[in-house]
């Protein structure tokens, strides 16, 4: 009963490297050290394996190998897609760029940067379910746009955007479409032709491959200006000697992911739903954030009213449970989650939000363990909150709390 575990529910932040992935990588950290650009056999052996890796990633996306560019991760893929496209296509529709307000900073900050450097930009609103409004997308595209970037699945609340619909509208109007699929790749089907996108970002460390490797899909015919100028690596789009072990690891993780996607997604969804059901049943004053159906299968974002997320995070961490929060107090900035803010969630509810993200190694016992600690932690933090009525076990408003202060004054 009092056994102490370490339970990791933060897979949207990063995932452990799969043992088979590590195994596949090891030779490329040891004897297979050739530079893939070299003509000799050391180089050739590695070059061939990179070509195979490219085929594996391309096949998973339903793309051609020549459309896959290996990068250092999701952030670089997003930067390369957006800056690279913006710089190479300034003349298309005035070079205007559209994105959504709930993107990862790797997209949002790039668009803001371009906005400060002469590009027209527009940031789409989202509804309370974290989805963009297709009417607003159409209106934005009608104004003339070079590139629209809308993420596939959101990292904080999991909401899945209508990417195919947006891509179709973009295509009709001569705009290119990029999507950040870092959080959906290997969780739900991600096929470039079904989505109709021109560019798509993915990252290794969210799919049980190592950190520091990722890929960008770029549809044939799309022109990008490189971020890195240098050698001819990645067909001149991304100079720099390849991260060989990382690329091999990424391909292995994709292989495993493709083979087990349905099973993995089903298990994740079962555990996530079980956790959600138990939290709602066993803890009062809880709100689920984001779209309940259109959601990545492993993500649960909940608000516990009248408590602050960092206090919860630390208490959970002391119990060995790893999660994340949208609260300002733990973000390193003073702003609460931009995603939850864009959804119109009041600040006080954002401060009490926690994200649980399930991964392959989680089990039912992990859920039991969380539910042995979470209700007690919430109760103890509420007991010292001026916004919790201990006697009646309910949340009080600021006004009520202030009125209480006046009553005591006699």
């Amino acid at each position: 009963m009092n056994e102490r575990r370490r339970v990791y529910f933060d897979h949207n932040a990063t995932t452990p490297v799969h043992p088979a992935v590590l195994e596949a990588m090891l030779p490329y950290l040891k004897e297979q050290y050739g530079n893939p650009s070299s003509g000799h056999q050391f180089g050739r052996a590695v070059r061939n394996r990179i070509a195979e890796a490219r085929e594996i990633v391309a096949a998973a996306l339903g793309a051609k190998p020549a459309e896959i560019y290996f990068t250092s991760g999701g952030t670089e893929s997003d930067n390369l897609a957006i800056k690279g496209y913006a710089w190479a296509n300034r003349k298309t529709n005035g070079g205007a760029i559209v994105t959504s307000s709930i993107e990862h900073p790797a997209v949002l900050e790039v668009v803001k940067y371009l906005g400060k450097n002469g590009f027209q930009t527009r940031i789409l609103k989202v509804g309370p379910d974290a989805l963009v409004d297709l009417g607003e997308v159409r209106e934005a595209l009608d104004a003339g746009v070079a590139l629209i970037s809308v993420m596939h699945g959101n990292n904080e609340v999991g909401s899945i955007q209508p990417v195919a619909e947006i891509a179709a509208m973009a295509k009709e109007r001569g705009a290119a479409m990029h999507t950040d699929a870092v959080q959906t790749f290997m969780k739900i089907p991600v096929k470039v032709d079904e989505l109709g996108v021109d560019m798509l970002s993915l990252s290794g460390h969210k799919i049980n491959a190592p950190k520091g490797v990722g890929a960008l899909y770029v549809r044939k015919g799309i022109k990008l200006t490189p971020l890195n100028h240098g050698g001819h690596h990645e067909r001149g789009v991304r100079a720099g000697t390849e991260n060989v072990p990382g690329i091999i690891g990424l391909a292995k993780a994709v292989e495993l992911g493709v083979a087990n996607m349905e099973e993995n997604a089903r298990r994740a969804r079962e555990l996530r739903d079980e956790l959600e059901r138990r939290i709602l049943a066993e803890i009062p004053f809880v709100i689920v954030n984001g779209h309940r159906e259109r959601r990545t299968p492993n993500t649960l974002n909940v608000t516990f009213e009248c408590v602050e997320g960092e206090a919860l995070l630390i208490n959970l961490d002391m119990a060995g449970i790893a999660i994340s929060t949208g609260s300002a107090c733990s973000s390193g900035s003073l702003d609460p989650s931009h995603v939850l803010m864009a959804m119109g969630i009041p600040h006080e509810l954002i401060h009490g939000s926690l994200r649980f993200s399930v991964g392959h190694e989680n089990t039912r016992e992990d859920i039991d363990y969380v539910m042995r600690h979470l209700p007690r932690i919430i109760a103890s933090v509420r007991e010292i909150s001026p916004l919790w009525d201990v006697k009646n076990q309910r949340v009080v408003s600021v006004e009520e709390a202030a009125a209480g202060a006046r009553i005591a004054r006699k």
């Binding site: 300002a328 600040h347 010292i384």
Partner: protein, 205 residues
């Protein structure tokens, strides 16, 4: 102090966070305080409510609190409660002299981004003492005069902005460093900046 077990907090902060002192565990009615104060706002992520009991020598012999906020907000209120009540309790004039820095020092420091939490602890204390002074008909002892709050989150008043200007603060960033104004939700920034400029113009324009 190891970063990986304490989120950048000192052992003292963690101790007060995990084992907070002087939390109000009864109902307000039962406690029957001599003064009540509330500062901050859940919108900004921090809110504190403080109750004191004062004897007829103006000595605070008991202080209880409740806080909505992060570990440093909880730790700061807890430490403030200890400082006020230790050694038989502080006189109110002594308690009014507690500065955010004093609370921080006793906590063994706070991460720079959390300093505003100690400011709030200090403000909560002043607010509850002011309430007590009002109730005992001694508004004249309240030095703040009739100040209006500009920054709801950190409870910074127009008076304080004025004082800072008079002390020679010439730019908004420094004002923020000193008062933490507009470092919560940030909504008050335009009005705070305007007010800051007004005082600058009034005295140095």
């Amino acid at each position: 102090m190891s970063q990986d077990t304490s989120f950048g907090y000192s052992d003292i902060v963690m101790d007060h966070f995990t084992n907070p002192r002087n939390v109000l565990r009864t109902s307000e009615e039962e406690y029957a305080a001599s003064g009540v104060g509330m500062v901050g706002n859940p919108t900004c992520g921090d809110m504190m409510k403080v109750w004191i009991k004062v004897d007829d020598q103006d000595r605070i012999y008991d202080l209880k609190w409740k806080t909505f906020g992060c570990a440093s907000a909880i730790g700061s209120t807890s430490m403030m409660s200890v400082m006020v009540t230790e050694n038989g309790g502080m006189q109110i004039d002594q308690a009014l002299k507690i500065k955010p820095q004093d609370i921080m020092d006793r906590l063994g420091g706070l991460p720079s981004i959390k300093i505003h939490c100690s400011v709030l602890g200090d403000k909560a204390l002043r607010s509850v003492i002011q309430d007590y002074l009002k109730r005992t008909g001694r508004e004249d002892l309240i030095h703040e005069g009739k100040a209006t709050i500009v920054c709801e989150c950190l409870n910074v008043t127009d008076k304080e902005i004025e004082e800072e200007v008079l002390e020679g603060v010439t730019d908004f960033e420094t004002l923020q460093e000193r008062t933490k104004i507009s470092t919560g939700c940030g909504k008050c920034r335009p009005s705070a900046e305007a007010l800051f400029e007004t005082y600058r113009a009034k005295y140095f324009g």
